[in-house]
């Protein structure tokens, strides 16, 4: 990788961005004061090919005539320093008026079904003793600026355009800069800055900002830098589910509709639908199932991956519904889960049939550690005794399996390639763009060495990023750790054979094709989470008291990292949903390895999904069925005052 050029700050341009405050507006006037040669203003009209595209979605790099969502970039202003840029930005006047809603082509809703429902099956009149149980699960839209400020720098050096940015997908930045500037891809050199992307905030924005910085660098002939804060946006999700159960409470037929509001621009909608459908499939057996995932649009900041891409939220909705079923049946949710889940799960197009024994073990462990049944029963009884406000305590459980990264359909599209070479010096070089996590690379080196050069992990070298680096896809959803690990191992196995038969050096290019699954996703890892919350009686502030988690994975590469990763995901999910963490908050984790051969799950996805599900269940026990996430003290007060009025 080329070293960063050490240029003086006196010889560069610093850029700040003007972002829209409201969505669905038409720009009627954008007055920019007269600027001397030290300044540069870039509007939508200054970028001829100003469209950013990403996984079937696209948006303008800078808004031209219409502003689709709050947070959209309207203007980039460059000055010798940030202070001058900020002062000059004060003189920029943006006038807008309400616009007609832009027409957006929505993808078809994804439908999946098996079996015939009761109505279809029995047209003839027949006495029906079954009961219908419905639930409604809502996760409201969250849109926030992150606290971390990051900078994107662009500079030219001979025929090359250098970009320095924190980015989750190098190839996306390169493609966006290529389209916007016309620079050939080979001459665009990306220097990846270290980053922490909890909600995949460094996936889309840095690519857009890099394109703006690159254009400014070309126009001014000087290095340019843009300072910005990350944005993350969680889509609004509504899941309506109805299950028909027999007299014993056994589910027979189920109908579920999920509506996802992805915001103004629909990125990766089809992948979202596939992931969400996987989460919607219940773990219990049914005679018939009908599911649909519909994507809608609204003038909100686009929600792309946001750490889960739908699986976690859908899994949480399924777990929420299971607890509603158990309540109607009169059994504690933990026991109900153990009762209705058979030994093996049904094979579907989205997730294979697998043994539910591990999940059941996790449920038992987490429920026992938390004294779940006792607390759940106590809270339920007390709730009825406490009149209008209720007992304001809740305990919830959720259980499920993890899935590994992206779907087979998307893997076919993106390839996720890498190249492995056995050199003449009997070392191994790996050419991949997945170089962002030193801890993971250490584990990969050990695993590759085990297959070809046992006991010599230092002989495995990951080539530094450069123009010839092979694109291994986006670094989101732990896809690179989850599915790339078996991919690397398969490549190493094949190379260990080839090194003895072929002339050295010998290389193989490996892509996701070699590890396609029969279903869209491969299950991996089971878990159960119990969450206990309390609502402070005086302030109505919701607080999490404790979380108990039990997880089981096929293999554990690094237990300390895994434990930390799960803990972080649990705490982030709780805080993200408006629930406070008091100083005596504790997480009790039990992690075990089954020792079986299997893929590595996206730990964050399973932990996030189960925490969301357990939180929602706990909240609904504390404040009733109207529970929504995110929650706040004002909201709870509002709920009770409305109840009082009615």
């Amino acid at each position: 990788m080329a070293e960063r050029k050490n240029f003086s700050r006196y010889n560069m341009r610093c850029g700040i961005l003007l972002r829209a405050e409201e969505g669905n507006r038409r720009i009627t006037g954008l007055s920019i004061p007269e600027l001397d040669s030290r300044y540069l203003a870039l509007t939508g009209n200054d970028i001829p090919n100003g469209i950013f595209s990403f996984l079937s979605g696209s948006m303008p790099i800078i808004a031209k005539e219409n502003i689709s969502c709050p947070g959209q970039i309207v203007l980039a202003l460059f000055a010798p320093d940030y202070e001058s840029a900020s002062l000059m930005m004060r003189n920029v006047k943006l006038e807008t008026e309400e616009a007609e809603e832009a027409e957006i082509t929505l993808p078809d809703s994804l439908e999946y079904r098996w079996g015939e429902t009761q109505e279809e099956e029995e047209e003839e009149e027949k006495e029906n003793s079954n009961r219908k149980i419905s639930s409604s699960f809502t996760l409201e839209h969250i849109w926030r600026y992150t606290r971390r400020v990051y900078t994107v720098t662009a500079w030219m050096e001979g025929a090359n355009m250098h970009i320095e940015a924190p980015c989750e997908w190098v190839e996306l930045v390169r493609t966006t800069v290529e389209k916007a500037t016309g620079y050939p891809k080979r001459n665009i050199i990306i220097h990846v800055m270290p980053y922490t992307a909890r909600h995949d905030e460094f996936l889309i924005e840095p690519a857009i900002i890099a394109a703006i910085a690159a254009i400014a660098a070309i126009r001014t002939g000087l290095p340019t830098e843009i300072r910005s804060t990350g944005i993350y946006s969680r889509p609004e999700i509504k899941v309506e589910r109805t299950t028909e159960v027999d007299e014993d409470g056994k589910p027979l037929y189920e109908n579920v509709q999920m509506t996802v509001n992805q915001g103004a621009f629909l990125f990766a909608s089809e992948e979202y639908q596939r992931q969400a459908m996987t989460g919607l499939l219940p773990p219990y057996t049914l005679k018939a199932f009908r599911g649909s995932v519909k994507v809608i649009s609204s003038p909100e900041y686009p929600a792309a991956f946001c750490g889960s891409l739908g699986y976690s939220e859908a899994l949480a909705s399924t777990e929420f519904h299971v607890s509603r079923l158990s309540e109607k049946t009169g059994i504690t949710p933990a026991l109900y889960r153990l009762t209705i889940e058979k030994e093996k799960r049904k094979f579907t197009d989205y997730i294979p049939g697998y043994d539910l024994g591990e999940t059941k073990k996790c449920i038992e462990k987490a429920a026992n550690a938390a004294s779940y049944d006792r607390k759940w029963a106590a809270n339920s009884f007390q709730r009825e005794e406490f009149g209008l406000l209720g007992y304001l305590r809740g305990i919830g459980i959720a259980s499920g399996v993890g899935i590994a990264g992206f779907s087979t359909t998307l893997s076919k599209k993106l390839g996720f390639s890498l190249m492995m070479t056995f050199t003449q010096k009997h070392n191994i070089t790996v050419n991949t763009s997945a170089l962002n996590h030193p801890g993971t690379i250490k584990i990969w080196k050990e695993r590759i060495a085990e297959k070809i050069i046992p006991g010599r992990p230092e002989g495995v070298m990951f080539l530094e990023a450069g123009p010839d680096t092979i694109d291994t896809g986006p670094d989101v959803l732990s896809r690179l750790v989850a599915s790339l690990t078996p991919q690397l191992e398969s490549a190493a196995k094949r190379l260990s054979v080839l090194k003895d038969t072929e002339k050295l050096p010998v290389s193989i290019k490996f892509d996701a094709e070699n590890t396609y699954y029969p279903c869209e996703f491969e299950n991996s890892g089971s878990g159960a989470v119990v969450c206990e919350i309390i609502i402070e009686k005086g302030s109505m502030i919701p607080q999490a008291r404790s979380v108990w988690g039990s997880f089981s994975f096929p293999t554990i590469m690094d237990e300390v990292s895994l434990r930390n990763s799960i803990r972080r995901t649990i705490m982030m999910t709780i805080v993200e949903n408006g629930i406070q963490l008091p100083s005596d908050f504790a997480i009790h984790l039990d992690i075990s390895a089954t020792g079986t051969e299997g893929t590595v799950a996206s730990v964050q996805q399973i932990a996030r999904g189960l925490t969301l599900g357990a939180l929602m269940n706990a909240l609904s026990q504390a404040i009733g069925e109207k529970a929504v996430l995110p929650i706040s003290a004002d909201r709870i007060n509002g709920m009770f005052s409305k109840e009082e009025l009615s």
Binding site: Y82, N564, R568
Partner: protein, 162 residues
Amino acid sequence: MKIDCTIDGKTLTLSLNSDKPLSLILRENMGNEETVNHCNGMMCGLCTVLVDGKAVLSCMVPAFEIRGKSVITFDSFRRSRDMKDIEKAYEAVGAYPCSDCYASRSLIFHSLVDEGVTDRNQIIKELSIVRCHCLDAESQVKIVQKAIEIRRKRYVRRTQLT
């Protein structure tokens, strides 16, 4: 105005606006963008540095305040023996801050260890300036206590050797 100070062991004379926040001085003048954030006083806690050995939020420190003082950022602190103690404490407790707040938390841990703070409430209060929720309170208290223990052992060993 001209300000004489020591940043990461280098004695410097900086010519800058007297009210420029220290976080911006470190980011813009010293090129330290990775470990020092600048959130414009939004209290993210990710801009923590040591000023004369005490952990402070650099976005709240104007330039004139650092005149004649010694500023240590995580960039130089990470190579010190004191950081090794903190790292050992992380390892012993089995809890690490996330990469986002690793620098800030490590500096606050060091500051607490240096002062020998063992009171649970005070530790939690001091660490609450970092608004990242990657570590629970219990783990943070354990890390400080463990680090104090490790540092004491180190000092005792050094005294015995001399």
